[in-house]
Amino acid sequence: MQRPCLPLVCLFALIPGLASGQSILDAKQPFVGGLIQLIAGVRGNFGDERSPVTASLGAMETALSAWDASIQEYRTAVERQLQGAPPAATAAGMHVALGAVYLDRGHIDAAVDEFTVAATLDPARADIHRFRALAYEIADKSANAAADFRAAWTLDSTDPANAYLFLLHAPTSDQPATDQSSERERALTFLSAFQRRRAAEGQAEIAAPFLRVTLLDEARGADPFLPPAIYAAAFRRLNERRYEDALTAFRQAWAADPLNTDPALASAAVQEAIASLKNGQVDVALSRLDTYVRQFGDSSEARRLSGTAYWLDDQYEKSIEQLRAAIALNPLNERARMTLADVYVSSRHPSEAEHVLREAIEAIPSSGQAHWGLARVFQMLHRDADARRELETAMTFGPLAGAGRVLASIARSYLNEADLDAAARVSRAWVAADPNDAAAHETLGQVYWKQNRESEALAEFAVEALIDPNAASAHAAIGQIHLAAGRYAEAVEASGRALVRNPGQREARYALAIALLRLGDEPRGRQELAAAQQLQAEDLGRLRESYATNLLRIEAALREQQGKFDDAASLWRQVTERTPAAASDLLSLADALSKAGRHAEAIAAFREVAKLPVQPDVYRSIIKEYLVLGRTEEADAAGAAYQQLKKERLLKLVAER
C-alpha cells in the first residue's frame, strides 16, 4: 500500500501572518490521495475497478487545480507581506517557504529563483542552500547541488545532515583538492563525534534526517510500483513532475484500458460474479464466471477473471487454461500474462513462469511489471545475474515508489559478485532514492569498506547509527574500522556500544577483546576474548549442524530417486527433528511417507505442516491420504477445513488490495 510523502512545506509550519498557510499545507494531499487510489485501481486485480479509477482521475484533476490555486493564493499573500518591507530575515523566510511550495509542486526553476533571493537576503542561513541543492539535484545540476550542500555545511557545521550531504556530494565539487580533503576530514570527524555523543546519551533516532521531494513514501519492503505498460507514459510524466500532462496521459490510457473498454466487465452479471468472488464465495463466482465466459466468448477480460478465480481456488490447470485463452484473445492483455506467471509460481513451476514472462516482454516491450516479475522468478531460481539484468531493466521504467527495494537487490547482487565499483554506484543510487533508509547506508558502508574507503564507510555507518541507534551492526562496523586502523580506544567505545545493543554481536565482541588487549588491558581483554571464542564456537556449531542437516536432506532426496521411500522417510524424519518449523522439510517427510504407503503417518505429517503458516493446498494432500485409507468422513472434514482456509485467504487478499 502506497503512502503519501509529507509536503516539504510542512517543515516550515506556517509562515506567521499568512492566512493561506493552512490551505497550502492541505493542498498536496488530495492529489496524492487520488493517485494512491488510481494506483490501486489500475492494478485491475478483480475487474471491478472501473468506478474507482474514474473517480480517482477526477479527484486528481480537481485536486491539482485546487493545489495550483492555493499556490497562487499563497504567492499573492507572500508578495503582499513583502511589500511591507519586513526585515531581511523574515523576507528570506517567506521566499524559502514559497520556494518549498514550488519545489513540492515540481516548479523547479521558480523554486531555485526563490531560494536564490532568500540566500541573498539571509546569507547566513544554511537550510536555504540545502533546499536549493535539492532543487538542483532534481534538475540534474549536480555541480550546483554539491556547491550548495557544501555551503550549507560551511554555514551550519552542527547539523549531521549537512555534514553527510557535503561528504556525499563533495567529489563533484570544484573546490581545490587539499581544501576538499581537510574539509571532508572535518565533516567526518564531526559526524562521528555527533553520532557517538548521541549514542552515548541514549538519544532517540533522527527518524528522517534527509528531506525528500516526492509524491509517495518509499514504502520500504513493499514491491515497487511499476504501472501496467499502457500507463507507462503517464507515470513517467508524473515522475517528471509534469502533473497536467500526466493527467492527460492517464485519461488517454484509461480510454484504451480493457478494464474500461471490455464489454464483459460492464455487465452487471459479471460484476455480480466478481462480488461473489470478493465475498469469498468462490464456488458461486466460478459457476457464474463459467457461464459468462461462454456468453462473452470473445472477452479476454472475462477469461482473465475466470482464470484469476480458478487460481484463488488452487485449481491451477483450469486457471492456466483460462488465462491462456485470455492471452490468445488479446495478446496485449498484460494483466492476464502477469497472472499466468503468478499461477505458475504458485504451482511451483518457475521455469514455466519464466517462459510466460519472456513472452510478455516480447509482446509488450514496455512492461516494467514483466521485467520485475521475471527478476523475481530468476531470484527464485538462484539465477542472480539474470535477475539483476531484469531488475536493472525494470528500473528504467522509473518505479514511482519502491525503487529502494529494487536498488537494494541490484546492489547486493553486485556485492555478491565482488563487483565493488558497480555495487558502490548502485548503493549510492539507493541512498539517493531513500536517504532515510538505514539499510541503504549500511550497504554502502560495507561496499566502501571493502573498497578500502574507510572514511566514507565510517560516514555511512555513522548515519546508519543516527537513523537507527539500535543498529548494533553499525556500531560494530565502526568499531572494526577503528580496530583495523589501530585506533583502539575508539574501537573499544564503538564495539561497546554495539554490545550494549546486542550482547551476541560476535564481530563487536571480538573487536572489543582485541582492542582491549592492544591497549594493554589484559584481564578485560582476555575475558572478552573468551566470550568471543564462545560465540565463535557456537556459531561454528550451528554451521556444522546446518551442513549436517543439509547432507541428510540430500541423502533423503537420493533415496527417493532410487525409489527407497522408507529410507527416505527415515532420513526426512531426522531432518524434521532438527528443523521442526521448516514446512518444506515436513512436506518432504509427508510425501516420502505417502510414497512409502505409510498413509496414516503421512496424514500426521501433513497435519503438522498445516499447523505452520503455509498455503491451504496442503489439505489437498491430507484429503487424498484419507481417501486412500477409505476414511471418507475425515476426508470430508479436511475438505471443509480447506474451503474455509481458502476463503480466509481470499478475504485477506481482497482486504489487502
Partner: protein, 574 residues
Amino acid sequence: MTMRALELVGATVILAALPLAVRPSRSTPLPPPSPGSAALFENVARAAGVDFKPINGASLDKHLVETMGSGGLFFDFDDDGWTDIFLVDGGSLAVPDVARRSRHRLYRNRGNGTFDDVTGSSGIMPHGYGMGACAADYDNDGRVDLYVTGFGENTLYRNTGRGQFRDVTRPAGVQASQWSTSCAFADFDRDGFVDLFVTRYVDAAMGNNKYCGDPARGLRVYCHPLNYQGLTSILYHNNHNGTFTDVSVPAGIAKYRGNGLGVVVGDYDDDGRPDVFVANDSVPNFLYHNEGNGTFKEVALVAGVAVANDGKPRAGMGTDFGDYDGDGRMDLAIGNHEFETASLFRNLGNGLFLDATSESRIGTPTLPYVTFGLAWLDYDDDGKLDLAMANGHVIDNTALVRPGSMYAQPRLLFHNNGDRTFTDVSREAGQAFAAAKVGRTLVVGDVDNDGSPDILVTNNGESVDLLRNRNDHRNNAVIVHVIGRQSNRDGIGAKLRLTAGTTTQVREVRAGSSYLGQNDTRVHFGLGAATRIDRLEIRWPSGQVDVASNISGNQIVHMTEGQGVTGRVPLRVK
C-alpha cells in the same frame, strides 16, 4: 663442482662451465616498471622441459581430494648450486588404472635454463594419492631429503646421493595417516636436527565420501570441509638416528583439531625458538607458540591471527611469514576463499598481530579469488617483500552453482610500495599471471641464479607453470646460502639480518610454506641501488651469531656456521 667443494675451497669461485654473463652492479635506484612495459614474468615451463600435468583423478564421485592438489617445491637435491624441482602427482580414488599412472616428477636443473626429468633413476615412487612436499637434510649428511604428504600415507625419501632416493618411511616412523596436506621441517628443540610438522585436513576418507549438491538437478559438487571432521596436525621429533617420534600429544599439538591446509614455521616473537602457524579452512587458524620445553601453546586468538578482523574464521589455505614492512618482525600472509579476501597480519611485536588486510590494500583485489599458493618475494630486487598468489576455485563446476564464478582464476602479484601498502601489478606481470588456471602451490626460487626470484605454480588438472622473472636487473641483489654445523645442516630456522646503507632486511630460512610446497631455502635479498652489503648477521638455531661485513652484491654468498663467508658465486644475467 658441488657446493661442498665450494665450501672446502672457501674462496670466490666462478663456475666456468656456465655460458652466461656475470650480472653487473647498478648504483642508481630505479622505480618498478610502469604499466605497458614488458611483462615481468614469462611462463617457460614447456621450453624448460618442465612439462608435467599432475593427475587429479577427477570423478563423478567428487572425492574432495581430487580438487585440492597437488604440490611441488624447489630444492637442490644434487647440491650443484642450481635449484631443482620436485612435483607431486595426485592419483585417483575412483579408478585404479588411473591411480596406477600416478608418478611424481623430479627435474634436475641443467644450469642452462632447462631441466632433465630424472624421476626414473631417482627411486621416487608414488604411494597412493600425493598432496604436498617439503625437503630438508634430516640426517645432516649434506644431502637434502624429501617428504611427500598424501591422502593415506606419507613418504620420506632419503637422499642417498647421485640423484637417488630411498623410501625410508617405515623405519623412520613418519607415515602418518588419513589426509596430510602441507608439511615443514624445522628444528623446534634446536638440537641440530630438523623435526617435521605435518598438517592434516579432514576425515574425507574413501568410505566417508558424501554427496553434496542438488540431486534434483543432478548437480554434484565437492563438499565444504565443514561436512567433515577436522584432523589434528602431527609433530615428529627427530631422534638423530634416522628415526622420528610422534610427539604431537606431549607437545600439545594433538589437542587441536583443525582443517589444516597450510603451514609455515617462523620465530614470530623473536625469542629464538621456531613457532608454527597453521592455516585452517573455515575454522580458526592455529598459532603454536614454542614454549621451549618441548611443548607448544596455541595462541592464535590472543595473537590476533585466528580469525579476521570481523571475528570470523576464513578458509585459510596457503601461508607465509615475511617482514614486509621492514621492522624486523615476521608478518603473516594467508590465502582465503573468494569473498573473504586474503589476510595480511602485521606483526606489532609483543606477540600481537594487526589484521592489516585493509590497510595494506590487498583486500579488494583478492576479494573475487580463492587463493591457495602464496609467497613473499622481492621480485624487483628493491629490498621490499612483494607478494604473489595462485588462485583457483575448489568447486570445478562452480559456474553451475553461482553463475559468473570461475574454477580457473588468474594469479595476483602485489608490489610493495614501502609504506605498508601494496599495488596490484598483476597486469604488468603479463600473461603468466593473467592466464586463468586452477592454481594450487606457488613457490619461489631462483632457477637461473640471476638474483631475481622465479616462481613455480602447480595447477589442479593442468600443467605446471614455471614463471621466469624477466627482471632487467635494474636493482642489485644477493643470495645467501647458509650451511649449518652445530645447527641443522640446512640452517633451517636461521635468522638473517642484512644491512645495506640505511636499510636493514630480516629473513628466515625455512623449509615449507605456501600451500603444499616449499621455496628455495637459499635466502634472496634485493638490494635496490646498493652495490655492497655493509653487514650480514646470521643468528643460527644453535644460538651462534655470525657476522660478515662489506660483501659485494650480485653474488651468491655461502655462509657456514662459525666460519663466515665460505664461498662466493657471481649472479648471472640472461
